[in-house]
């Protein structure tokens, strides 16, 4: 596919010379109702359109279809790539009499039927009294060639974007000329004139920045003559006049013949195809309780028929002979362009299915194509389009004599535009996909699904069409990515990996800290959250630390708080560089969580005797300035590691086909021995054996409560006495960890 094909630029030239004021002799009865009304009234004479009116309304119809299917887009200068990836079709409308009148420009805002209608009204019908000698279509054709040389915004932008490859931007175009020619010689003269003008203009364009030489031009001459006359000009298929110019001649009677010719041309020129929706049930206007079946013909890009074209399913093409004096060749394989040239209309017939939506079918949608009804304001067409514009969908099935029904298309509307969707009706290579639970992480069961759902909802996107870049020069899309980055700096994926995100009390702070900028109020809220946590700690409130699989009551309360504070610090530290206030939140946490020195001292003493896990943790503390990544690792202290082991076995337990956890019973005191050994490098055979025996024995009896709570096998007696005196008892307890 080429962006700058001949279809990129179309110039429509309409003859406005006196002879175009002639009547088409196709009569329209306007005075219809009188027949049933008062008698004795003489009906008014029928009206008939002039050749000019026929040419103008058919060219407007051509444009209506074009703009429906390829709507004009606003050029976004900030996104250079824009240009290279969209189909942009532009039209220039020129009227020719004693001089040329250009009714619009290549600019996008000028690409609308409304604008052109207004300009045409200003031109008015041709003046039959004007001197025919000084009027000619040639003025318009010369202007058309000049116009094709003018660079469009898209060509200009593409050349700028491609820089040194600017020569890749081609300049091709098509001229559709609606005129009344005198003879075949006259036609030849017009072609020669166009060719000469191209050659002249190309020379001029070579030396200009705003002009481009024409590489290829397609001239479509449509000779319009009144009904009942014999044509003076013969049809001629496309012929190469020179390497830059192709020309074809269509000789058509004014009126509906001209309309169907231009309908065929718009399909050829812009790769369109036709689908007729049949069996549309519609309530009768007169008898509201009966319904008749109607057909509606739609045009759309021909790719919506790709399945039919490729597989040669010509049997469903219906040949609709719209010009009575044309002979149908009947050769179904010639369904392509040849039959079009002979004036036959081809359409694919699809049957209306009772409307319903099924999301399963949506997933196999392979394309969506804009449509335009052929007969836009007929009652069946507007019934169908209004039905769709109101948000309903219609499934379409292929008419088949036998066998199951095959639904191949769907009509549905998105934002005021109707699209024909192609649905995959054959076997899909995506059938029977593996379950996600069979892959990596598929056996983990405590994902924070709900939290991530909330996260997604907060990160939803919305269009900002009027605000392309913010103060920092970021497009909305870049801002969305930046927000995702901020929001995921610390985001544990599973419930058992986190404490703070399981705590309602932390929510205000967690929501605010990820913000790009914090207000003074936000800072206060964060500080309040921290004070609240301090309060909770003082009151010894329980924390929602995951106790999954851990023995007994899990870690002691002060240990729980230590974990919680560490995690909170980790979260806040990842945002500390964002602003001064973010920094203040961290300072607040550090200040509040620090313990009285005496207590801290005691803790240290207690921990000296502990295993290495704590040392690594301190190392972690030092390295934690470097980044957040090791932090989450560090969080898994001695307890964490055990917990993780346990939670893993927990996870496995949930899956029916996973092995039994290897040790369901609590490991009790041996745990400590093991962890001691872990820290001391190579293990001797004796210690291995001892631990094994101890482990085996431990399962046979209830462990003495004192030993469970002992420090280095030393249990403090009469703890309750201390307790009653309100002294701290936790020092000993911690040793089990």
């Amino acid at each position: 596919m080429k962006t700058f094909s001949v279809s990129h630029k179309t110039v429509i030239v309409v003859d406005h010379c006196p002879y175009m004021a002639e009547s088409s002799r196709q009569q329209i009865e306007c005075d219809m109702l009188t027949k049933s009304r008062a008698q004795g009234v003489i009906p008014l004479a029928p009206v008939s359109k002039s050749l000019w009116t026929c040419a103008v309304e058919c060219s407007m119809e051509y444009l209506r279809i074009l703009y429906d299917i390829y709507p004009a887009r606003k050029l976004d200068m900030s996104a250079h790539r824009d240009i290279l990836a969209c189909t942009v079709l532009q039209v220039n409308y020129i009227v020719s009499d004693s001089e040329f009148h250009i009714l619009n420009s290549w600019r996008q805002e000028d690409q609308s039927v409304q604008e052109l209608m207004s300009a045409l009204a200003a031109v008015g019908p041709p003046n039959p009294r004007e001197d025919p000698e000084c009027c000619s279509i040639l003025h318009g054709l010369v202007a058309a060639v000049e116009s094709l040389c003018k660079i469009t915004e898209y060509q200009h932008e593409s050349r700028t974007t491609l820089m040194d490859m600017a020569e890749r931007v081609a300049n091709r175009g098509r001229i559709i000329c609606l005129t009344n020619a005198k003879s075949d010689t006259h036609v030849r003269m017009l072609e020669d004139c166009v060719l000469e003008t191209i050659q002249e203009q190309n020379k001029l364009a070579a030396g200009s920045d705003r002009l481009m030489p024409i590489q290829q031009c397609e001239l479509v001459l449509v000779h319009i003559y009144p009904q009942g006359d014999d044509t003076l000009v013969s049809d001629r298929p496309k012929k190469e006049i020179s390497s830059v110019l192709n020309s074809e001649v269509h000789s058509v009677r004014a009126g509906r013949h001209l309309a169907s010719k231009l309908n065929v041309l718009v399909q050829q020129h812009f790769d369109l195809a036709s689908t007729t929706i049949t069996n549309i049930p519609m309530k009768e206007e007169q008898h509201a309780n009966t319904s008749a079946n109607y057909d509606v013909e739609l045009l759309h890009h021909r790719d919506a028929h790709i399945e039919f074209i490729k597989s040669g399913m010509h049997s469903i093409f219906v040949f609709d002979q719209c010009i009575p004096d044309c002979v149908c060749t009947g050769d179904l394989h010639m369904a392509g362009s040849t039959s079009r040239d002979s004036g036959l209309k081809e359409t694919v017939t699809l049957k209306w299915c009772t409307p319903r939506t099924n999301s399963v079918e949506l997933h196999y949608c392979t394309g969506a194509f804009r449509i335009s009804p052929v007969d836009v304001n007929s009652r069946p067409s507007s019934c169908l389009t209004n039905f769709l514009l109101n948000g309903r969908s219609v499934l379409l099935e292929q008419p088949r004599k036998s066998g199951s029904k095959v639904i191949s298309h769907m009509l549905s509307c998105h934002g005021g535009e109707i699209f024909l969707h192609t649905l995959n009706s054959t076997r899909s290579t995506l059938e029977d996909p593996p379950s996600i639970s069979e892959g990596c992480g598929g056996r983990v069961t405590d994902y924070r699904i709900t939290d991530f759902g909330e996260f997604m909802r907060e990160n939803r996107l919305t269009p900002f069409p009027d605000m392309p870049v913010d103060a920092a020069g970021r497009a909305p899309f870049e801002r969305a990515k930046a927000q995702l980055e901020r929001h995921t700096r610390y985001w544990p994926m599973i419930i058992s990996q986190t404490t703070i995100f399981n705590m309602q009390a932390v929510v205000p702070l967690a929501n605010l800290i990820v913000k790009d900028s914090m207000t003074e109020d936000d800072l206060l809220t964060c500080q309040k959250t921290v004070y609240n946590l301090v309060d909770m700690e003082r009151k010894n409130d329980p924390l929602p630390i995951s106790t999954v699989g851990s023995r007994g009551k899990g870690p002691k309360r002060d240990e729980q708080y230590r974990i919680m504070w560490n995690e909170l610090e980790t979260l806040v530290k990842t945002h500390v560089g964002t602003s001064e206030r973010h920094q203040q939140v961290l300072e607040c946490i550090s200040a509040c969580r620090s313990k009285p020195p005496e207590e801290e001292e005691r803790k240290k003493r207690g921990r000296k005797r502990e295993d290495k896990e704590d040392k690594t943790e301190k190392n972690g503390k030092e390295s934690e300035e470097k980044g957040w990544a090791p932090d989450s690792e560090r969080l898994k202290g001695a307890i964490e590691r055990e917990k993780e082991e346990q939670s893993e076995s927990e996870v496995i337990k949930d899956s029916p086909d996973s092995p039994e956890p290897f040790n369901k019973k609590p490991r009790l005191a041996t745990e400590e021995l093991l962890s001691l050994e872990k820290s001391k490098g190579p293990v001797s055979l004796l210690s291995l054996w001892t631990s094994r025996i101890t482990q085996a024995n431990s399962r046979k009896h209830q462990e003495f409560a004192g030993r469970i709570n002992s420090v280095n096998n030393k249990a403090e007696l009469y703890q309750h006495l201390k307790d009653e005196n309100g002294m701290d008892v936790h020092e000993n307890g911690k040793a089990t960890r």
Binding site: K2, F4, C30, M32, L33, R37, K49, S50, E57, E61, R64, D68, P71, A72, D76, L84, M117, S118, L120, A121, G124, P125, I306, S359, L362, T366, D375, V376, N377, S382, L389, G415, G416, N424, T426, T429, I436, E438, G439, C440, G441, V444, I449, T450, F455, M456, R457, R460, T462, P463, F464, D470, F477, R479, A480, K481, L484, T488, W491, Q497
Partner: protein
């Protein structure tokens, strides 16, 4: 992309290859060895691929229909029989039929032709087929190019010199060109032996069957993913941008939008099922929330991720690729203009999720969504005239509608240069005026003659009355109470 293996089972495949100091091999054995290697690779690294096995000589036979069961394929391969001469054309026709029956004509397919390069003699040989190609009727067209998008890989169990000695290489190259040029001809380097056949199939695997690995990122959360079927590079415009666009292996998940389009499937291996994976988390939440995630695949190339469940209980994360471009789905607007909702003054989804900023409405309505005037068919014009007359008879109640329809007709008639119609309608209105019953409201007569007069003035083309933007307004009368304000639609 399903694969058809088209295996030459003609007698020439049984030609022995001389190998020093080992048991005698036939070319067929080498071919089977190569295919075994391919099947083994697919079974482990490409296991979602559907593969069919067709053998051919003068006839062809579908040995194994499309399957993911590589044991069945291997078994069939091990039990190949030897037949008569090579007749490629009918076999290709067979492949074409098999693929279309199974997948239709839009599903891209890979054809792996395994042959020794002896392409038959006389009628039915490839040489004969190619020579007679232009002299055929519609019903006997050469099967290439296939009606479906395809890639043709030709695996020759012979070396290039051998093929070039005859016209075999030329014929195969011609075949590849005919198929549309996508694919490759592989020949064996050096002596015909197990090693060189392995090397040749290794090249095929590298080119056509390497799994697509990528990293899916959402901010700092990331996951390694394999995408199947693998996304192929796309050529957008062979003139302006002749380099095909390929999917970047770093996919950015950008945010969530609304729901629906194409296909791709992410799957991972069994290993490490126990450590948390972002894909699983994302899939779970997308499923629960009924949302889709927008994913960026390259510059101006996007897709979406969603949870896809087949009829059974299994579901997986699916990626649909959009057409490359800045605005793949018009109703989402330009992707680059989608930003976080936190930037909006108020939540566009509403506090209770009752609203949505999508679909984006186009600036201009399409013709079917606005009341356009088309008079191509006489009935279109007659309907419009009748509408005016119908309202004319219900004046003054229908004053607004009457003038609305009248102005619509006037505008179109002026644009089309159809002044005759204006005169005709003016006359119709004047006659209506004379036909008014005695019981009619006095205002009706005033409005009708006013409207008729205005139309007549417009039909003269006088710029004062025929301006397109000008509208005929109701006549101010003592009865209408200030410009037809009595009637509101």
């Amino acid at each position: 992309m399903p694969t058809v293996v088209l295996m030459d089972a003609s007698l020439s495949m049984t030609r022995p290859v001389s190998l020093e100091g080992s048991e005698e091999f036939q070319r067929k054995n080498l071919a089977v060895h190569g295919l075994t290697m391919l099947f083994e690779h697919m079974a482990t690294n490409y296991r979602l691929e559907f593969t069919a096995l067709v053998v051919f000589s003068s006839l062809w036979e579908l040995m194994v229909p499309f399957t993911r069961d590589y044991n069945t394929l291997q078994e069939a391969l091990n039990n190949l029989e030897d037949y008569d001469k090579t007749c490629l054309e009918s076999a290709l026709q067979g492949v074409s039929n098999i693929v279309q029956q199974e997948w239709g004509s839009t599903c891209p397919c890979q054809v792996v032709l395994v042959t020794d390069g002896a392409l038959g003699i006389g009628r039915g040989s490839l040489r004969h087929s190619l020579a007679t190609m232009k002299q055929r009727g519609e019903d006997k067209k050469f099967p290439l190019p296939f009606p479906f998008p395809s890639k043709l890989y030709i695996m020759c169990i012979s070396n290039a010199e051998e093929l070039q000695a005859t016209d075999a290489m030329d014929n195969l190259e011609q075949l590849l060109t005919l198929s549309g040029g996508e694919g490759h001809i592989f020949t064996m380097d050096g002596p015909l032996c197990l090693k060189s056949v392995q090397a040749m199939f290794g090249k095929l695997i590298d080119q056509a069957y390497t799994p697509f690995h990528a990293v899916l990122r959402c901010g700092n959360l990331a996951s390694d993913v394999q995408v199947f079927p693998r996304p192929e590079p796309v050529l957008l415009d062979d003139e302006v941008d002749p380099v095909p666009k390929a999917v970047l292996t770093e996919a950015d998940e950008v945010g969530a939008g609304t729901t629906d389009d194409m296909e791709e499937d992410t799957s991972t291996n069994q290993m490490a099922g126990k450590s948390p994976n972002f894909c699983v988390l994302l899939h779970g939440s997308l499923k629960v929330e009924g949302m889709v995630a927008l994913v960026q695949l390259g510059p101006d190339w996007y897709g979406m991720l969603y949870s896809q469940a087949d009829s059974k209980k299994k579901s997986n994360l699916m990626m649909s690729l959009f057409e490359p471009g800045p605005e793949p789905l018009p109703w989402l607007g330009k992707i680059s203009q989608l930003g976080p909702i936190s930037d909006a003054l108020e939540n566009p989804y509403g506090e209770d999720d009752s609203k949505s900023p999508f679909p984006v409405q186009p600036k201009n309505k399409r013709s079917y969504a606005q009341n356009v005037t088309v008079w191509i068919k006489a009935s279109g014009l007659q309907t419009d005239v009748q509408k005016i007359l119908r309202n004319a008879r219900k004046l003054p109640e229908k004053t607004q509608t009457f003038y609305k329809e009248l102005n619509r007709l006037r505008k179109a008639a002026l644009a089309f240069g159809f002044w005759e119609l204006l005169k005709c309608v003016a006359e119709l209105l004047e006659r209506e005026c004379t036909l008014l019953p005695d019981s009619a409201h006095p205002d009706a007569a005033f409005q009708l003659s006013h409207a008729a007069q205005q139309l007549k003035l417009a039909s003269t083309g006088d710029s004062q009355y025929a301006a397109f933007e000008h509208n005929i307004t109701p006549m101010l009368t003592d009865f209408s109470g200030g410009g037809g304000g009595a009637d509101r639609m």
